[in-house]
Symmetry: C2
Amino acid sequence: MAFQILHDDYNSDARTGLLSTAHGDIATPVFMPCASRAVVRACSSQQLAALGLQMLISNTYHLLLRPGPDVIARAGGLHKFMGWPGVLATDSGGYQVFSLGKLAEITEGGVRFRNEMDGSEIFLSPEDSIHLQNQLSADLIMCFDECAPYPCGYEYARDSVEMTLRWAQRCRQAHQGDTQALFGIVQGSVYDDLRERSARETVAIGFDGYSIGGLSVGESRQEMFAALDTSLTYLPADKPRYAMGLGTPLDIVQCVRRGVDMFDCVLPTRNARHGSVLTWDGVIKINNAQYRQDYRPLAEGCDCPACRQHSRAYLHHLFRINEAAAWTLLSLHNLRFYVRLMERVREGIAAGELNDLERQLCAWTQRDEQ
Amino acid sequence: MAFQILHDDYNSDARTGLLSTAHGDIATPVFMPCASRAVVRACSSQQLAALGLQMLISNTYHLLLRPGPDVIARAGGLHKFMGWPGVLATDSGGYQVFSLGKLAEITEGGVRFRNEMDGSEIFLSPEDSIHLQNQLSADLIMCFDECAPYPCGYEYARDSVEMTLRWAQRCRQAHQGDTQALFGIVQGSVYDDLRERSARETVAIGFDGYSIGGLSVGESRQEMFAALDTSLTYLPADKPRYAMGLGTPLDIVQCVRRGVDMFDCVLPTRNARHGSVLTWDGVIKINNAQYRQDYRPLAEGCDCPACRQHSRAYLHHLFRINEAAAWTLLSLHNLRFYVRLMERVREGIAAGELNDLERQLCAWTQRDEQ
């Protein structure tokens, strides 16, 4: 993997770049929809490619449980298994082990947890996670980290950062082959000195890119941006930076201004399945009675399959009868919105007009919160 | 609507034809997937059109409850509401009132039933059904009939046929405009003389085409074909004939040999959502463990979106995790199978080789029943 910065923003730390991988070049900043179980929910790979999406992220924890790494390895890797021709990343599963698994034990060696599918016990070490990710063969893979809970006491957070650093060493060591880029993960909860130490020492180990973890886990927006800012301060400018699990359109623009290059979030698809639809004028709740006889498209000028073919009234009807086709169409719409958002972000950086986009999204978010 | 017979089969009563409507010409025999609630479940109109489907059938009963006829009328009719550019039929809702509704009362005037959505009482007369179907503005519409239950005593069936005939008169009278074709419906349960009377008298009223109702409601296969044969005997050769609610691939071929031109059935999509996948070698139950590591497409040579992009192993995984994308992909596959089936039926008639297709499907069905 190679990363090249194309344009530095004059007004902020934002930059556009090009991430070159074996499965194509990615224009950054980029948003990766979550295909945690080897599928972006309610969408087919073909539909996603048609939206102009460049890259998806899947999840080692979910794939370990189902369908199992053997099934994907025998398919020839995750790209072939999913029928996805574009670029893929995998998360290490650390976050999911801690947030979803019935944890039995965390030791220096790794974590033991209960398989939610069949109740069996699974042990996952940093080496195991990297080995699994090597088998899955996504283009970008992640170190196995402990994502500390929020709120988190200082001492727990400190010990967690230290263990995550030792695990990062072991991941670096365990990683096989040179076609997959390995990203280190910065943790440290909301503590400045821990964020600094985590970032400095992760960079000292040396990775192809750096992820900032432990964000948007319950902390305030102010705490989140403080933790992000500190983390970013100590990351090298010439490597891609990935803010894990973010975010809303406004989050993304505000992170981009700070120098973040990559994002992933379940929001556009999860919200779609709950009837929350993104437009440049704000959020539409398609379930609302006001859309029953609204024959306009979800968003004027949108070229997604929902807007090209259907009205709000029709989508309201499909959503009301609990139709899977509604989840698909609304998901495709929201994902297309994110594709356009990232295009506008990149254009905004190149043209020095990122502020305008941020202002629009601020107004939009305030209106939505009223 | 015009109907032209293109080719009469030398070996059977099968024929190919051309049904010309305001929304395009339909090659018959044709299969209409069920878009009962203005959607073929888990599929978008765009996906259906891409499969080569010519025609869908929707349902007055379902649309009356949701979204309501006002919503569809204000959209400019069902084609526009659904975003479906092709040909549409609507069923009158008779069958659904009797099979789904909490019936309060059947009178000469019409039926009173309880709205399953909100518990309110709805009265539907033959005139109401036609008026609603005029509003929906599908290309083909159906008379409002009583579909007698099975088993059904002779006297009930006789009275029901007589009332359905009087209702057919009223429907003929109530029908407005000349762009929509109106079909009469032959009933008569499993009684030869009632089938004969129903067919003769329906034809005497005079319709653009004739539907054969009350089939596949619980009677044996032998009884079904006997009732069908009697009904067909008294229908004019130059009008299209529609066997309502049928059927399996073998049913379809065996009905086509008897001179049926049109079919509708929920089987291909309902079975798909339950993991039953059609191939020319028989049925695949995608949930079976044997497909966990089967990297072949569902069917060799199939050009549907599922087969072009994905393996059985991947679809098995999606189905196992209860993914809506699986329902969509499997539905599209089964519908594509039906499109190809009807193409093969029409080619078989033109080439005098319908027997070969029937033999293949017989072997297939026997294998599947073992």
